[in-house]
Structure formats: C-alpha cells, structure tokens
Amino acid sequence: MDFSLTDGERAYRRKVRDLVQEVSGEQMREYWAEQQAVGGDRIFPWAPSAHKLLAERGLVGIDWPAPWGRGATSSENYILSEELVGSGFPSSPVTSSHANVRAIIRNGTPEVVEEHVPKALSGDRRYADGLSEPEAGSDLFALRTTAVRDGDEYVVTGSKLWTSYAHEAEYVSALVRTDPESTRHRGLSMLLIPLDAAGVDIQPVWVIGGWRVNQCFFDAVRVPVSNRLGPENEGAAILSAGLADERSLSFGGTDSRLLLARLLHRFAGAADDLDDSDLEAIGRFATRLEVERMLNISANAKGARGAESAAAAGSMGKLYGSELAQEFAQWLNELLPESIYRTEWGVSVDDQLAADAEWFVRGTVTMTIAGGTSEIQRNTIAQRGLGLPRGA
C-alpha cells in the first residue's frame, strides 16, 4: 500500500506547480477571454496560448513514447492532470483529448506519426473526438457513419455529434463503419479526417454552460486510406485502449476541490459566520472529495497493473465524482446566492468565486453525461465489477 510520490514524481509535480504559480489573476482572465473567443468552456477549459506554454515547458505528451514524449508513468500522468485541473489551468486537451495522439503513435504508419506528432507537441495541431452520433450516444456501436473504400481513399458519409473543439481543431479522430455488412463493434475503423476537407460541415451546438460543442457532417468526404489508424475493421480495439488510458481522470472532483479550497480560504478564521448546516456540508464534502480522489487513484493503480478490475474501478470514480460534483455545485450556489446573477460566462469583477460557482452548477450538468453516462458507468460496475448478467 503506497500513496506517496517517488522523488522523481515529486520533482515533476513541483515543475507543474511552479508553472501554475506564474499565472496571475490578470493572466487567468486573459486565458478566459481566449477561451470565450473560441467558444470554449470553463468545465473542460482550453486556451491556445496556455497550450503553447505547456508545450514550451515540455508538459505536452509526457506519456507518449520516446522520442515524442518521455513515457511518463500513469502516476505522473495522473499528477499532471490533477495539478493542472486542480489549479484551474486551461489544459483540457492536454489532460484528456491527447488520447488521440497516443492512438496515432500506437497505430499510425511512420509517415502519419511523423506528420502529426511534432505539430501536436508544439501545440500547432489539435484533434476532436468523433465518436457519438445523433442516433448513437451511450449505444455507441449503433453508429451509422460509413467509410467506403475507393482506391487509396475512403469516402466518408454521416455525422458526428458532441465534437468539442472541432471548430478549432485540424482533425477529427472518427470511429466509422468500414464493413457495411458488420454490426456492433465489428467492422469499425478509426480515421483521421481533416476538418478542412471538401464535404465537411461543422455546425455549432451550444450547451447549457454557455459553450460550444459541434455536430460535424460528412458528405462524401474523401480521406486517404493512410489516415486510418491500425488495421481496417479493428477500430473498436483502438477506442477501447484509448478509454483505458483515461479511466482515472477525475470528472468534477478535482474542480470541486479547487472551489472548496477557495471557499475555505474565503472563510478562513470565520467558521462562526457559517451556520451549522453549512459547516456540516463543508465537512461532508471535504470527506467525500477525499474518497473521490482515492477512487481515481485506485483506478489509476489498477490500470497501471493491467488489473481486470480496472474498468469497473474507473467507472466507480467517474460515477462518484461526477454526481458528487453536481451536488457540491448546487450547495455552493446556495451558500453564495449572489452567484445566480453571474451569467456572463463566469467572469466577475467583484466576486470571482461566486461567478465560478454559477458556471460550475451549469457545467456539471454535462459531467454525468460526457465520457459515458452515469447509467453506463453503473452497467460497467455491475457487469464487469460484480459479474452481474447483462440485461436482455
């Protein structure tokens, strides 16, 4: 049993913390302005210049194999995510969506790797996830987007929904059906589709938190066969490996800890100003946020060992953290009631914490949905963790 960091991990964390401490209040507001300008969100935040800064400091792609990254351990990867998200640094693609680049390194041809990875490392190339479709959300393998082989190209037809960042990215990494006779997880392939290709239409979809996701339409889009990752019809395995990489990421817990820490500092030395119910809530949330972190650490450790229980453990962390974040957000809004007035994209000149509480209550609506709904997580726990039979 060991929850400590190695000396190397500690030094690495210090490096991330030092970077974060450079960010002044004014700088953070500039990042937020950048995010807002690109239709980004505060719940999975990203700002181009922040991404560049991370790239300059060697903090992009740390877990990618050499020579691109340095093959960081899963613990280090967890620490990077925790330190960046936990400090509010706008880094979402670095901590989550870079699974796309991992997939390229693992499954792309040498030419594709050479073409993509250096640009991703420098922050000059970004990727959107192309998984869900209008008729295929939780039931992902019901997807209908097809890629029909025509010589050295595929002709892609269909659409992808919830493609966050697609309007700012250069590629969408899309799961498509390459075997028209197949069903479910068989006959799927992963394709890198250039978003400036003829026949691609990106339409904005605005969501409750005030940010933009997208629907991408593909009308006979021609994609080189060389843009396929891995063997034809083996896309489901690539997807599965990518999801395994991300299973210990916190969905809402880390953000909640930052907000609670800020609240504790606001009321430092002023416990008597809070009533008993608020004190109880603070103690209870502080405890459950510790539990949430431990569930994610456990998933991380199990994943690193290749334990069979890792999938269920990841679902436990995701389920627990996202539902806890919603509950915490509601309570925080009650405690800071003025936050209900902060509807201008979460920026306030007089009470930033209240403004953040307001965006958090809206933003957490998606946390129990994105990355697999709570219902899907419960199914995974029940079937893969507890061995209960699948439903009819």
């Binding site: 049993m1 974060v20 004190l279 502080a286 972190r293």
Partner: protein, 330 residues
C-alpha cells in the same frame, strides 16, 4: 507508482484470519452468540486469542486490515473497542466508551471526564442492542481522570479508524451477499441482477463500499508515516468514521431493497449485517458533529495548515496564485 493494495505482510495476516473466521465464525456461530446471555462467543474469542489477535504490533495498516476481516465475519468480540485502549493507554481488558456505553465483557471502560478520560468498572445494567451484543450502562461519574485531552484525541482517532474499517468489512460482505442473491434469484424469466433497477443499486453500494475501504487505507497509510506515531490525524479519524456511517446505511438500504422480502426475513444473512451496520453507526457520535468538526479544522488557518495529506496536498489546503488575487475574503 500508486498501490492501493494492502502490503504483502498484511495480506498474509488477513488471509489467515479470514480462513480462521470462515471456519469458526460462520453464520451459525454469529446467530449462536446473538442468542447467548451476553452476546459473546467464548469459542471465537479463544480462537482469536490463539491466533495472536490481542498481541498484534501497533501498525495502523495491520490493525485496519484485521478490523476489516472482523467486520466481514461479524465476529462477536469487542476487539475494536479494546485495541486502541491497549495500544495507546497500555491498559488491558478495558474498552473504549467515550461517546456511548461499553460492550459487555471486558472488566473496565474508558469514559470521558471533565477534562480528559478515565477508567470505570464495566458494570451496570446491560441492554441488548440491535447488533446482538450487550451494552453496559456504566456509572461515568465514578471515573477519575487518568489521561488528558491529547490522549483522548488520539484514542478517539484510532478507534474511529478501526471502527470504520469494521464497517468497511461488513459493508463489502453485505454487497457480496446482495450480488449472489441477484445472480440466483429469477423474476420474469431471468435473474434479477440483469435488471438495471437492481444492478444499479448494487453498483452504487459497491462503489460506496470501495470508497470506504480506500479512505480507511489512506488514513492508515498516513498514520504510519514518520512522525504520526501510528495514530491517525484527528481529521482523518473523523472523516473515515463519518463516512463509514453513511456508507453502512447506504449499503444496508440498497442491498435490502435488492433482496426484497427475503432479505428482510430473520432467516436471511442480510439482516445480520444491516442490523449491525446501523447499530454500530450510533456508537461514536453523530456524523453531523464529525462533519462540523472537520469544517472547523479546515476553517481555522493554524489547524488547517497542520493537516497532512488531505486530497493532493502535502500540508494544509492551498489555492493557486490567480485565485488568491481574484477572490475576495470575508
């Protein structure tokens, strides 16, 4: 690299203890103890004594893991209540009773006094509890103070962790009972575990039980670090215990619902667990009180900054520079 598993040495002891308890403290043995005049099982006590349970080294991880196993088997022995007293106060045969009455059997009880803690004879009117044991209405006024508030705090923190570990073991076992039932029980032509309404309740119960075990482990791990002297920090004691109360109740509620009428019968093993989980929850103070104390620690800068290992922090609770600059204070 993180590792959430008990150490090899601890697993060896846990495994041996589980084997012993499966053979000596099975369901009939628990029911027999419940039906006895004092709720105890002399046979189980003897087996555990021979196992060396009362002479274990004061290693937090080992003690927590043992407590988990005792909870899994509902061992009718006051080991949790005896152990912290033996280790921290160096008193044999005395049980912890700071917040509620002591379990019957041991010769004396540690109770709160005006400004510390003291010993009192474990004698008085005995009442059977929902957990099948007996608690003794001791005369707390007869206790003379022998230890100060600092000792009381340590005693409380270690007992909190051990009691939470016991709940963790019982809750995990109850989830297993519910899962086994859900796999076997058929309704509308298939096993009820294939219905999401049932499966999701068990998934929630399993998640809660897993989370409890992990916070117990974290608490024990922190207590074993240099300078902690094998005693959990008060805030972690409060967190593990208050969380154990909530988890025990949630697991009991969900598993009973999944097992429906059968789980509520006295024939079912489920009620043996749920009664204890709910009874134990009443013995170390109300979780709301613990939560308020946790909040007061975290809201008092000096106390907050002395906390080690909360969340991702080395010490205290920090906020990034940008937030310090943008946030207002009261």
């Amino acid at each position: 690299m993180f590792d959430e598993r008990w150490s090899d040495e601890t697993r060896e002891v846990s495994s041996a203890l589980r084997s012993l308890l499966e053979g000596t403290c099975d369901e009939p043995a628990v029911r027999a103890a419940e039906s006895s005049a004092d709720g105890r099982s002399r046979e189980v006590e003897q087996h555990l004594r021979e196992f060396g349970l009362h002479d274990l080294p004061a290693e937090p991880e080992l003690l927590a893991a043992v407590s988990v196993e005792l909870g899994r088997s509902l061992a009718p022995v006051p080991w949790v209540e005896l152990t912290a007293v033996r280790i921290l106060l160096d008193v044999e045969d005395a049980v912890y009773a700071l917040e509620s009455d002591p379990p019957a059997g041991p010769g004396s009880a540690v109770v709160a006094t005006a400004s510390g803690i003291g010993l009192v004879a474990n004698q008085g009117e005995r009442e059977r509890t929902a957990a099948g044991d007996f608690l003794v209405r001791v005369d707390r006024g007869l206790a003379e103070q022998r230890w100060g508030e600092e000792d009381a705090q340590k005693l409380r923190a270690l007992t909190h962790m051990l009691a939470a570990a016991r709940v963790s073991g019982a809750a995990s076992k109850l989830v297993e009972i519910g899962v086994t039932y859900a796999k076997e029980r058929q309704a509308f032509g298939r096993s009820i575990g294939s219905y999401q309404a049932v499966a999701h309740k068990l998934a929630d119960a399993a998640t809660a039980a897993e989370g409890l075990e992990l916070i117990v482990k974290k608490t024990a791990w922190l207590a074993a670090r240099d300078g902690a002297n094998g005693v959990p920090q008060p805030i972690f004691g409060l967190m593990t215990w208050s969380h154990a109360v909530e988890v025990g109740r949630l697991v009991a509620r969900n598993v009973h619902q999944c097992m429906a009428g059968f789980g509520a019968t006295l024939e079912s093993p489920a009620q043996l667990y749920s009664r204890r989980l709910r009874s134990w929850a009443l013995r170390l103070g109300r979780p709301g009180d613990a939560h308020r104390e946790i909040a007061r620690i975290l809201l008092t800068p000096q106390r907050r900054d002395a906390v080690e290992g909360l969340w991702h922090e080395e010490r205290g609770v920090t906020v990034p520079r940008w937030a310090r600059e943008l946030d207002v204070t009261v």
